[in-house]
């Protein structure tokens, strides 16, 4: 029978099926971090259960880490305690940890692909909803809760019901200035925040085939923002080329054997999906959000829609925007380029390319937070740091930072932040903060202008 990419990977990982119930799904790689793992370690300890496959777990510290003075002891007691617990738990259970300051430390969804931990055909989980990122390699990757983190610790498996399949196809040529972030923001704005709930999504079409691995990661990262547990893109030469030679990638003959297997994974031409959508690349333009969920997005050139739904109105009231108005020329005081969505080297290259020879506007505080130590090093080695510093941007140390504002990187009450992150929920970037999601290019332009501009006009 014809199978989708998702079917092939899923079916090859089913240990067994409970009659009229879920399946036992084997998990190849388990990524953990300091925030959603401590309670799982405690649970195992309380029940006297050992960690089953510690060598299939990779740990990093990212959510709750400072982005300044990482070489100093962490001031916040609770944060310090959480990181200490992670170190202790990893040590006790023989789990590899790339702690703060390690050359491989970084946001879990940036460092794992970078190290070659992420590979096609694998099943991967993490106590973080943006685990969908790793689907860019043709892996089944999804976020789990802490009880499930404990289950994977205990058995390297999860009990799951197979989700339905969804395919989003985008063909055509993207316009100048339209980045992968715009593509996914556009898709979510069209489909809404719960269209993918209960589904695993495959992205297909030449737009994704032509994208770099980093672009594909940006797209898959936000699958969860339309409700889909995960997103996937068929592995191809771009994927193999990216994985090749990385720290934990198979080497030599073993690599060639893997590639031969990975080539069997793409969806069969006559495979059926439970739901399909398709879009024209030409219809996509640089995007921006105006509300408090990622589905509330428009092209920068468009007006905020008019809607009488009370939740919609509540959202606009929170943002202090009016239905029917344009966001162009709205003054913006904060810009954040970072997060597991957009903190890879290509994102900083795009930003630097735009910023070069310009200065940030005086009213703007602009934070650039690399996704990992390796990205930070690349920024310095490629000479991007000096471009940023000369333009008045602040390059910080790696971590999740202002994407969720668990550390000190918070946007003040009532302020707008044009952010390359993934969620514009109320207070996401600090109590009372107002988030506007955009691509790294739009974020860089906003920082330079001190207000929202129509970037496509400037480019053409």
């Amino acid at each position: 029978m014809s199978k989708t990419l998702f079917d092939k990977v899923w079916d090859s990982h089913v240990v067994s099926t409970i009659e009229n119930g879920p399946q036992i799904l084997y998990i190849d790689k388990h990524l953990i971090h300091e925030v959603t793992s401590p309670q799982a370690f405690n649970e195992l300890e309380d029940r006297g259960i050992p960690v089953f496959r510690p060598d299939q777990i990779v740990a990093t510290a990212d959510h709750n880490t400072p982005t300044l003075n990482q070489d100093q002891p962490i001031k916040d007691v609770l944060s310090r305690n959480q990181l200490e617990q992670l170190s202790e738990n990893c040590k006790k259970n023989n789990i590899t940890l790339y702690e703060l300051g390690h050359k491989y430390n970084g946001i879990v969804h940036v460092m794992a692909p970078e190290l070659g931990v992420t590979q096609p055909g694998l099943t991967m989980v993490c106590g973080d909803s943006h685990t969908s990122t790793h689907g860019a390699f043709g892996a089944i990757a999804f976020g789990i809760g802490t009880s499930q983190v404990a289950q994977v610790f205990a058995s390297q498996c999860l009990l799951l019901t197979k989700p339905k399949s969804l395919r989003v196809t985008v063909n055509g040529k993207l316009k100048n200035g339209v980045l992968p972030k715009d593509v996914i923001l556009y898709i979510i704005s069209k489909l809404g925040t719960n269209s993918g709930t209960g589904y695993f999504c495959e992205y297909a079409g030449n737009v994704f085939e032509d994208m770099s691995m980093e672009g594909r990661m940006t797209v898959c990262n936000m699958s969860i923002e339309m409700g889909a547990r995960g997103g996937m893109i068929a592995p191809d030469e771009t994927t193999f080329e990216y994985v090749k030679g990385r720290e934990f990638a198979p080497k030599g003959e073993a690599f060639d054997k893997k590639v031969a297997y990975w080539k069997t994974l793409p969806t069969d031409s006559d495979a059926k999906f439970d739901k399909e959508y398709s879009f024209d690349a030409e219809d996509i333009a640089p995007m921006i959000t105006y509300g408090t969920n990622p589905g509330m997005g428009i092209k920068i050139s468009e007006m905020i829609p008019v809607d009488e739904n009370p939740s919609f109105k509540k959202s606009l009231a929170y943002m202090n925007f009016e239905a029917g108005e344009s966001l162009i020329n709205k003054p913006i005081n904060f810009v954040f380029i970072g997060s597991c969505t957009n903190s890879r080297i290509e994102d900083f290259r795009v930003a630097a390319d735009y910023i070069k020879g310009k200065k940030k506007a005086e009213n703007v505080t602009a934070w650039l937070v690399p996704g990992s130590k390796q990205v930070e090093t690349q920024i310095i080695e490629e000479g991007l740091k000096s471009i940023f510093v000369e333009a008045g941007f602040e390059l910080r140390q790696p971590g999740c930072s202002a994407c969720l504002a668990m550390n000190d990187d918070k946007i003040p009450q009532g302020e707008y932040c044009v952010s390359t992150s993934n969620r514009n929920f109320e207070g996401r970037q600090g109590q009372g903060s107002r988030t506007i999601l955009a691509s790294p290019l739009v974020a860089a332009a906003t920082a330079v202008e001190g207000k929202i501009i129509d970037i496509s006009k400037q480019l053409n």
Binding site: S12, V15, S16, I18, N20, G21, P22, I24, Y26, P38, Q39, N42, E43, I49, H63, N64, D76, N81, Q82, L122, G127, D128, S129, G143, I144, G145, T146, S147, Q148, Q151, A154, S155, Q156, C157, L158, L159, T161, P163, T193, N194, T197, G198, I224, G227, R229, Y261, N293, P310, S311, L404, A405, M406, Q413, R423, F425, E426, G427, R428, Q431, G432
Partner: protein, 196 residues
Amino acid sequence: MEKFTTLQSRAIPLNIENVDTDQIIPARFLKATDREGFGNNVFRDWRYDKDGTINTDFTLNDSRYSGRILVAGDNFGCGSSREHAAWAITDFGFKVVVSSFFADIFKGNALNNGLLPVQVSPAFLSDLMQKIVSNPETELVVDLENQTISVKDSELSENFEIDAYKKTCMINGYDDIDYLINNKEQIEAFEAQKIY
């Protein structure tokens, strides 16, 4: 995990759609390393103003409403995978959340913590909201065995779906770890013959 069979209780209406996990429990409260105490901060930024003043307009602070059932708008629990959201809701005292749609990860987290997500039709949800708002003393009955939710002393009732395995777990207070550990041999056999 605490067992769940039936519950009769008043309910608290939260007539907002797309309630995300950052509203249920803001990220700044995720620094704890145990599961207890999150109820103090559930819906923190809707319950309190930034200076700590109680927001009396918010449903959880409205003295007319009480009970162990939260009745919420469509797409409840979207956003992050933080199980802290389920812990916060249960720690506050809820045993059931009713909505016309739940986000996947939240639903799973709720079931793993003895918090029953009851998905009803949009029409039933709207009727339920109206009933509770017009009479906050309205009692609801949630019967897991028969998979029904009804308004006491009225005709209003609906069946709800739940995975048969999860239903058994909830009724008996089992969790997935018990099941998985008992299948270790099968898992090891799978590891030995993996095809990929």
